[in-house]
Assembly symmetry: C2
């Protein structure tokens, strides 16, 4: 029998466990031809002594090599290099299978270019964030949520931990159906609701069901870029339709319909995103009629239904849809918390079935523990109570922001007090470079977005959007002072004048 | 001033709130021309008395109508029908905007046909489920999980409830990187890991990054249909490659590469799904080399790494990948619970960045409460302890199933004892109609799938797959007795002979 010495320097502090180091060294020796098919390996005790490791470590290495097919064991007679090892050219694999120190830095196949998502990163601590969209998380009923998780896991652990209905757990679908039926006029049942991970997945799943590459989808501009991204990624050709003080310009949409076959229109009729205007009654009717005539799907994103301050919320388009043209998208991101990713679609069942099928491809099903916990909060009325509480707070914050803007930036911004929503859309004096302002403001510790972000063509516009929901009234006052301090110099002197 | 009588029968028990009923009746009267622009409406007190409702109800109805643009209010002088109401042809909207009793049953736009997902529904209570894939959820450390949720919500509520990193929370990425580095040889860091919702979202996101419609992707057959669905939905043309006792047939893949440009290959090298065979060492090297030469992405689905019973788990292809061709997909569905939807991708950072971008389109980010809770369980070693405990149990269950099959169905099924995994892949005597058997078995209270489900062409094959992980040894014995009782008659007599 040949004598074989394992050429290896073991490194006890390396990231790679010792047994793996041994296994790789043996495999390397086989590849190099130092060990040949049929060669017998030293006994585990012998090799352990020689390497100064525990015998179990060597056994683990041999197990690994055996499992990988490098070694075979003839019971009672020892461990041998496998005969059936394909080994046409040992050097050929030497670099392929050698032990790695780090992940490869590059990929060995072609990749498409990185897509710009527009997602913003984290801000430095202490930044007053007015980028909007985020509710005040300091007020979320966290203790109740934690209790709900515990109850769910105690009582329904097996159900929530198992595979389940891709449409979402029935309790949550029922609670959501009740919510939209009782206060939003939809008459939905659990069969017409699909739970999604935030409105984003609702939009993505709807896009994947509806869109065949090349389909024309009309969108609002100014508008909501994450929705555009989902639609575009599904292959849609997006056509921007302008918005004015009454919301989406129906004349422009009608005009588009005369030129192109429009598959769908994405709208935010309640508080148009980002301008917060309400789609007027006349345009609502016109949109529903046009959609019915032309068989256009209306994707209605009602992302902040509850946050209407002056009068009742306007009922959604879906509440008046008898033709089955409206796909209603809702979310709990604003009335509870975005991190829970709780959204939903309410729509006729043929669409619900297709969304459920697409859902099985995306992620099989939702997070049932979270779905159940949120269902409990809805059943107990906790979400509704919370929404009422924060609605009052947000209304005061809206007014505080308006007051502060008038006081500090009267000559720089002008705006209509929005009847609802979580942000003010303000026109900025054209002398001010809004992009420079937003950039300088970050340095002063306040974050907001300028109009460019919401414009379909991505070009500068003399607007900024100021979210007020996540800040207290004192923080709002401070944020506006910082905004003033950050004004680009030319504009500052004019504002002081 | 005209006298106007509201024509409405209020229904206190209807699903639609009374204020909505009033608002709709008024809007209907405007549409019909019974109320005209400029008409004054009765005061809220008057109308409340007339209708026998609380004054606040009428005020809510007026608020709604005002918000929708039907009414205007001249301070101190009263409420009027809006002058700016577009009203070209009242009757035209009469049916469009009328109050709805139910959701429309049909959609008013074109829908693609419903896709068959292969998702199985719930089984009757008492069914012994051997369809595989589900671990034994009775053993999951539920109390620890509930505690972890509570701690996370107490200490990190604002972070987990807010918008965050689309790659997943850093704690979980770090814990997963450590897991795959310490026991799977990958040398990953948090920068090379993206958390996904189960392996399904990993596959879907990878497909959406990689695939341009028409790209050829090689898949195993027998194989895993949910992966095929995700790839196909992204536009891939799938080409099945046969598997044998050593796993994927590399000669067939090489042959395909001479004919077509292959973009990616989807493989389950550890325990091939569904046959549970281990991809041999030689084929592993050959696959890595071929991928490097041809710039093919290898999507390696290592869904049940820990459940290897005879010797150590085989290290993944990704552990030997220096060329950056392997996209490693892992999941906690098997070692923890599928309902948590915790999967991940480990790959070179250029791919990680693109997955993060696609993730923002899909659902923006994961469930951060669940991600944090699972990170705690990993940091505390709870997942690892749980995996060790269940691995021992599953090994005994595998052996119990083998024994029961030999005893009860010796003449009907034959199989190799698999070195790992959660199921036995058994060849069935060709006299037995496996589809009929599976169907009759459901009636006897045992569920399993026949070969057809795993075959690329969806045609019958003389195999059944029997999952053993979710059943105790007693339940396994009972399940096999039920299987025998359910044998189609012709085969039963032969087995008894």
């Amino acid at each position: 029998m040949r004598t074989w010495d394992l050429a290896i320097t073991l490194d006890g502090r390396a990231d790679v466990p010792v047994f793996v180091q041994i296994a790789r060294a043996v495999a390397e020796d086989i590849r190099r031809g130092r060990l040949k098919p049929g060669d017998r390996l030293p006994g585990s005790r012998t090799l352990a002594e020689r390497l100064g490791v525990h015998r179990n470590t060597v056994l683990a290495a041999y197990d690994e090599l055996h499992a990988e097919g490098w070694l075979t064991t003839h019971r009672a007679s020892g461990t041998y290099v496998s005969d059936t090892l394909p080994d046409p050219s040992p050097r050929r694999f030497a670099t392929t299978v050698r032990s790695r120190e780090t992940m490869p830095a590059r990929v060995g196949f072609d990749l498409p270019p990185l897509v710009e998502t527009g997602a913003s990163g984290a801000y430095p601590r202490g930044t007053l964030v007015m980028t909007g969209g985020v509710p005040d998380l300091r007020t979320v009923p966290v203790a109740e949520l934690a209790r709900a998780y515990r109850r769910v896991l105690r009582r329904h652990a097996r159900e929530v931990l198992s595979y389940g209905d891709p449409r979402g757990i029935v309790r949550l679908r029922r609670a959501l159906a009740e919510m939209v039926s009782s206060v939003r006029g939809l008459c939905a049942t659990e069969e017409s609701v699909v739970v999604t991970r935030g409105s984003q997945m609702a939009l993505d799943a709807v896009a994947r069901v509806l869109i065949t590459p090349g389909d024309v989808v009309a969108v609002e501009s100014f508008g909501y870029r994450p929705a555009w991204n989902a639609l575009k990624h599904a292959g849609a050709e997006l056509v921007p339709i302008p918005v004015d003080a009454d919301g989406l310009r129906l004349d422009a949409l009608r005009q588009l319909c005369t030129q192109r076959r429009v598959r769908a229109v994405y709208v935010t009729p309640h508080h148009q995103y980002p301008t917060t205007v309400v789609l007027s009654a006349g345009r609502r009717m016109e949109l529903l009629t046009l959609a019915r005539e032309k068989r256009i799907a209306i994707i209605e994103d009602d992302y902040d239904h509850e946050f209407h301050y002056d009068g009742r919320p306007v009922l959604p388009l879906a509440s008046a849809d008898v033709a089955g043209v409206v796909i209603y998208v809702g979310t709990l991101s604003k009335i509870l918390a975005p991190g829970l990713r709780m959204g939903f679609v309410a729509a006729p069942t043929p669409l619900v079935e297709r969304l459920a099928a697409v859902r099985t491809f995306i992620d099989r099903q939702g997070d049932q523990a979270t779905e159940s916990a949120v269902a409990e909060l809805l059943e107990e009325g906790e979400v509704q109570r919370h929404a009422r509480r924060v609605r009052r707070a947000y209304q005061s914050r809206r007014d505080a922001l308006a007051t502060a803007l008038h006081r500090e930036l009267g000559g720089v911004v002008e705006f209509q007090l929005p009847p609802g929503g979580m942000a003010l859309w303000t026109r900025v004096n054209p002398d001010v470079d809004t992009d420079a302002w937003a950039e300088r403001a970050l340095g002063q510790g306040v974050a907001f977005f300028s109009g460019r972000r919401y414009a379909f063509d991505g070009r500068a516009r003399p607007y900024v959007r100021l979210g007020f929901a996540a800040l207290t009234e004192n923080e709002i006052a401070e944020a506006v002072r910082r905004m003033r301090a950050a004004l680009p110099t030319r504009a500052k002197s004019r504002s002081a004048a």
